[in-house]
């Protein structure tokens, strides 16, 4: 591991100023950063410890929504009563990710910024446009079983590994940040970037900009939500395909649906195609199958990952069936 300067920040402003000045990385749980620093994939010259910042609370907002501090640990968010009762998809997604030890460390802000598990990104012996822009992509012609079928480019096909972010996509979360130019509010849906020709740019954060909290809107009564994760093991494994559904059904018809996928896209993948195929339609198996086809219509398989397309369709159909069965 390369040497770095370490400092602790006790206010958000100090953290932001310090990171902007030193070109530093923020560290909270450390579960991604320390891992990748050991592999020399990330080599920050300065590390700003933000664990002392007062960003570790979960609060109900006056309008019924939820405000989640960036330092709330995954295990605490998953077991929060309000989250379990009103945003079940989020609790389920969190509990399907990583191990209990890692969930005790990993934070809300850090999870949103998790790095891909692409083998070639994690191994500095291989070219990788995300790690070293312009060096090439070893996954395109390599072993690409875990890679993306949606949102890829000739430069990168790495998936975003977060489960939590997929649930938050379906919940239409908003990210709140603080940077050297002040505060920003960004819809999560607009936060992530597809790789295009600049896979090293993964989101809209500017250098030194810190996620301070995430807000979730209140859900209409009767909303049901669920997360289903399909993977090679029953526990402690990244998604091959996952589906997050947040849905309202009334009088046998889908009133409102928010659909997101994990494991198949270069970012947590919101599917407006699936939502459009569902809303206003009868909550039937035929509708669900049409939504699944619509969601994957633009999918482009690589040599080893074509199975993900069918897997994602079935994940969506199963979650839709589960959430629309009469309660």
């Amino acid at each position: 591991m390369q040497v770095f300067r370490y400092s602790q920040a006790h206010t958000v402003d100090a953290a932001v100023q310090n990171a902007a000045r030193s070109g530093g990385a923020f560290i909270a749980g450390g579960t991604t950063l320390v891992d990748l620093m050991k592999l020399n994939v990330l080599q920050p010259q300065s590390v700003v410890d933000i664990n002392g910042l007062p960003l570790d609370r979960i609060e109900t907002l006056p309008n019924g929504g939820l405000r989640i501090g960036a330092l709330v640990r995954n295990s605490d968010l998953a077991s929060n009563q309000t989250v379990q009762q009103q945003y079940a998809v989020l609790s389920q997604a969190l509990l399907s990710g990583a191990s209990p030890q890692l969930r005790n460390m990993a934070t809300t802000g850090g999870n949103l910024l998790q790095k891909t598990r692409c083998y070639y990104y994690r191994d500095t012996n291989y070219p990788c446009n995300k790690r070293q822009p312009g060096s090439g992509c070893a996954a395109l012609d390599g072993f690409n079983r875990i890679h993306a079928v949606l949102g890829g480019s000739d430069h990168c096909v790495a998936t975003h590994p977060s489960d939590m972010a997929v649930a938050m996509m379906a919940l239409e979360a908003t990210i709140h940040t603080r940077g050297s130019k002040g505060e920003r509010t960004i819809a999560l849906d607009e936060f992530y970037l597809v790789p295009g020709s600049t896979p090293d740019r993964e989101n809209l954060l500017l250098p030194g900009e810190l996620i301070t909290h995430v807000t979730l809107p209140a859900l209409a009564s009767g909303t049901r939500s669920v997360y289903l994760k399909l993977r090679d093991r029953a526990q402690y494994e990244f998604a091959l395909a996952s589906s997050a559904v947040v849905i309202n059904v009334s009088g046998g018809a889908v009133q409102r649906a928010r659909i997101a996928f994990g494991g198949v896209g270069t970012k947590p993948w919101r599917s407006r195609e699936a939502e459009n195929a569902l809303e206003g339609q009868p909550a039937t198996s035929e509708t669900f199958h049409r939504a699944a086809e619509a969601a994957m219509a633009g999918a482009k398989p690589l040599k080893y990952n074509a199975f993900k397309i069918e897997l994602a369709k079935r994940a969506l159909i199963r979650t839709l069936t589960e959430t629309t069965q009469s309660a």
Partner: protein, 228 residues
Amino acid sequence: MDQPKNPLLDTQEADTGKKPTTDQEREPTLGRFSRRSFLAQLGAAGVAATASPLAHATETEAPEKESPPRVPGAVPVTLNINGKEYRVRLEPRVTLLDALRDHLQLFGTKKGCDHGQCGACTVHVNGRRVNSCLSFAIMHQGDKITTIEGLAQNGQLSPVQQAFLDHDGFQCGYCTPGQIMSATALLHEPIGPDDNAVRAAMSGNICRCGAYNNIVAAVQQARARKTA
């Protein structure tokens, strides 16, 4: 030891400074170099520089009690481990795991993958189980850290330790400290009662020997006795 150990240098030989009395055939050779010819090339200064700390080391049984070697970039760090305060100088890049093992002689916590995948390094920070390999020690000043060495009280094994013995919850034993730290924390976590819930809650601890069935039995015994 504050000098890198020279694999070609025999401490006994360095200690006495005498040439070996044995014949030529007993000299180990490495490639084209015999040990003797290598030493000759080092020159007197090189031998003197490497020999003296090694000679010292052979005379000292316990680790040195004086202040630890200074490392560039190291800063004073105070850690509270098993109720005891430890003051050390650590570089910021030293993980909590490496601090325990390499600086504090607490070898119970094991290094497996060193990337948060195997769970062998599991310790408790403020009562919660974490992977000590993925955290810098310097981030834990003021935290209460518990390692496997801190579970037994007054010579009495903890209920989880006893349960692992009762159910033979290990084979080689390397993953066991991490398994026991996870299982101990699990007693206070919101998980379901059945074996599958235990398997899920223990999924962050890999056992290459495959003692999983006995581990689950041990965890269930400890949970039953806790609620009994």
